[in-house]
Symmetry: C2
């Protein structure tokens, strides 16, 4: 009878002596400092506010949680006007509202350089928590969105391309938007945890895809085989990379700040999900989890050089 009810009403909470309710709390905190994480000549205050919240929400997405409350501390330099504060908090509020998080407190103080310190509090999804350490050999390595675009956008900003490109709504707005207005992958993370429960692994690639691969492999004590040709890279990223005379795969691996999700999912569960069709599935497979400890790369089937972490992501 209980099994029938479970099948009728769904959910994994029924069937034991007690229901184990997810009352665990997720907390993460991330600071954005002028000159280190952003430049005010390259981004508007509204964009800076949005990004400060988005990068924190991305940490909640990385564990498949739901953001609830945000605490925002702003250290503002002399001359920061009421209008400046309004623009900053407009961006903060827009991003918070879009993902149903509530600004619940914070602090405002003086400083020499603009600094935002955000703490986000969230709930563990009722299906559980996905961490970096849950990858098992045989799992499929999957990822959301596309990689390298944020770095391409930063390259455009630093090359002074911003004004003309953005105002024209030009072909390159994808890359600029990915850098300036990153979108935390919360619905994508919930979709995954609804398919997998707390089995599998997940993290965000905020410090670059290469870094995420290293973290997943090390924390889960597994190896990875990654097909570089499978890493999604946007057409605009490739165009900007060509202008910059850079291999777009390097930006995808080492560029950072993409705020995409990288996860590992049981191969059977993945197979079932794929059978439903790729429509509505925000993940693509980029490799497999092995019982080794190394990260082996292929590019269109041929062995490729190993990761070179010296190319890794540095802010600005």
């Amino acid at each position: 009878m209980i099994d029938s009810i479970k099948s009728w009403v769904g959910g994994n909470l029924i069937g034991d002596d007690c229901a184990v309710l997810a009352c665990q709390t997720l907390v993460s905190t991330d600071a954005l400092v002028e000159g280190v994480h952003f430049r005010r000549d390259l981004m508007t205050l509204e964009e800076i506010g949005w990004k400060a919240v988005a990068v924190n929400l991305s940490d909640i997405a990385a564990m498949a949680g739901r953001p609830r409350y945000l605490f925002v501390t702003v250290c503002a330099p002399a001359g920061f006007s009421q209008n400046d504060f309004r623009s900053l908090y407009k961006g903060i509020g827009d991003c918070a509202r879009q993902f149903r998080a509530v600004i619940a407190g914070g602090d405002i103080t003086a400083s020499d350089q603009l600094m935002l310190s955000v703490t986000v509090i969230g709930d563990v999804h009722e299906n559980g928590c996905l961490t970096r350490s849950g990858a098992k050999p045989g799992d499929v390595l999957i990822a959301t969105g596309d990689f390298g675009a944020s770095k391409a956008g930063l390259w455009q900003l630093l090359s002074g391309e911003r004004a003309e490109k953005r105002n024209q709504q030009s072909v390159s707005s994808h890359t600029l938007d990915k850098h300036i207005r990153p979108v935390p992958r919360l619905p994508e993370a919930w979709m995954l945890v609804e398919k997998t429960g707390s089995k599998g692994a997940l993290m965000d690639a905020s410090d670059g895809l290469a870094d995420a691969l290293v973290q997943l492999a090390r924390t889960s004590s597994v190896g990875l085989m990654v097909e570089l040709g499978s890493i999604p890279i946007h057409e605009q990223t490739k165009k900007v990379a060509a202008l910059a005379n850079v291999d777009p795969v390097d930006w995808a691996l080492y560029g950072g700040e993409d705020y995409e999700l990288v996860g590992c999912i049981d191969a059977n569960v993945w197979g079932e999900w794929r059978k439903e069709g790729s429509k509505g599935n925000p993940f693509v497979p980029i490799g497999i989890v092995t019982d080794g400890s190394s990260i082996d790369l292929t590019r269109h089937g041929s062995a490729a050089p190993p990761l070179d972490m010296s190319k890794s992501f540095q802010h600005l």
Copy 2:
């Protein structure tokens, strides 16, 4: 029978259809910025770390909560060494441990000036939460510790008295310690909420006693009568004030950073508590709550000039 059991086992949770468990969470965040809240030539990094935690724990004490978790973000300038970090985190860890709070996360990033942003998460005491808005006419206005000492300590630091005085363990160490190593009044707050439940009002006087009086009166929609002669002022504070040629009562009212508690308690509950003797009671009465809306001051029984908020606390 239930009344008997209540009297045998204590506690306010028994006796209704459900026990209402205090699962409410308190969160507060406070940043300390170099040059604004502290100067590195006047305080050691260990002291700065301690103070960054203490001022946050004081916000939890101000609502009679119990601190649980701390999230510490450090923005450190170029040249901040491994030893510097160790000293800073030594102070952070010492204060956290003393009050049973656990460092659960944070962020470290570069910046031009040293900045600490701390978020503290705590539980509401099982007897309830004390806020600024709970004062009722007829309540007794009470306070912990002593006032003006932190300002006296800051005056000493700014006068270059630090080295000789501290190293000699001199008579003035109380005032220096109050500025440099404030102690959050957590046990005192718990004692109050155990006597009163969630009735009454409480806040910390971090921005000065005068500010606390204004906040309590406004938020609770009450008036206050305060006897300035009853405000506890340490002998050393008076001595330093004499050197500075300042009325120590001004430092007590406007100096700020004392991190003492100011509360309002039902007169009968206060009377019962006083009957037990003043031993172990960390509060002293400094006035009463009225049904007006003004803050009326007396000094040794005679009317005194009203509060002058232009004298109020400014950092450094």
